[in-house]
Subunit: 190 residues, 2 copies
């Protein structure tokens, strides 16, 4: 396991931007939880943090996870439990950082992701190399809504380069963006 | 444009398998249409075919596309129209083949995708090279439900290699699988 980069994801619902650039807490989307859990399982991430401070959204997410991990869904589709048990609900990005630090004995390197080009952004495969070299765990922050708000960006050590399409269109769903970033992180050549 | 591989996607709702291995027509999923359209736009595919013979599912899809391309959605989120107008509803895979052949003057190379390992499967980047070499358009078939049924597999010239995760888990959503396959097709090294 020594050479395995310990990568974590956080799907951030607060603080994120809405279409007008205001800081909001976005609603949790059922399919986001399923898709992110299945991605986390495919790429063997220990946990994917679902970040929301809203009690009702946490309760909704908890019910959904329970349904598939312990309830009727478990019998219906056993592989879904294997995925969804990797989801961990937390109030804030800081709680995800603290949990990873408790587990690994050191704080994670934190990367923000964005659809907008930024300065000094790393390709995901370069981030993997950086992680292997420093021996620390890593956490990639994914924003819902219109993307991570400045306070979430400020918690990151660096920025992951946006997914450049073939014609300038940069409006992928967070589900598809997460899929591409994870695949590039583990399988891309730096 | 000469060197641009003309790739098309088809999201197949019939014939696909259900959990018991029976051939069914699956229901169209709202977020599949959005995510596939946004992917098609990002990777600049001219069209993504939505394959379903069910009249009510076609009508539902048509209403959804109209809402975002011509209705209230157009004002709300202009970039969604740019994506969703790339969706083309067809009754059968054969109709997608015929439409591509009419446009390009030659039939497309057709690849089936599957989460199950198959013989002689191509990596997506190798499929891109093959397309460039033969000068034909290409069509990648994506199955909903439990994957493409044998009659759909039989319409393909070859199989695209499944997305190998890091621990054998092979249950990605079709949305995330499509994202990874397109990214590997256009950006992967053969």
């Amino acid at each position: 396991m020594k050479d395995d980069p310990a990568l974590y994801l956080a799907l951030v619902h607060y603080p994120v931007l809405n279409r007008n650039g205001a800081v909001i807490a976005s609603a949790v989307t059922n399919l986001d939880l399923h898709d992110l859990a299945r991605l986390a399982c495919t790429y063997d991430l220990q946990s994917c943090y679902i970040v929301t401070p809203l009690a009702d959204q946490q309760e909704l997410s908890r019910r959904l996870i329970r349904h598939w991990c312990d309830g009727a869904g478990r019998e219906l589709m056993t592989n879904r439990a294997e995925a969804l048990r990797r989801l961990v609900l937390v109030d804030a990005v800081a709680d995800a950082l603290a949990a990873i630090e408790r587990r690994h004995g050191q704080a994670p390197l934190v990367w923000a992701t964005s659809a907008r080009p930024g300065e000094a952004a790393l390709e995901p495969a370069a981030a993997r190399v950086q992680l292997a070299e420093c021996g620390r765990p890593g956490l990639m922050l994914l924003g819902t809504g219109w993307g991570l708000a400045p306070p979430a960006m400020a918690q990151a050590d660096a920025l992951i380069a946006p997914i450049a399409g073939r014609n300038g269109y940069n409006h992928l769903s967070v589900r598809c963006a997460a899929a591409i970033l994870l695949d590039r992180f583990f399988n891309g050549r730096p």
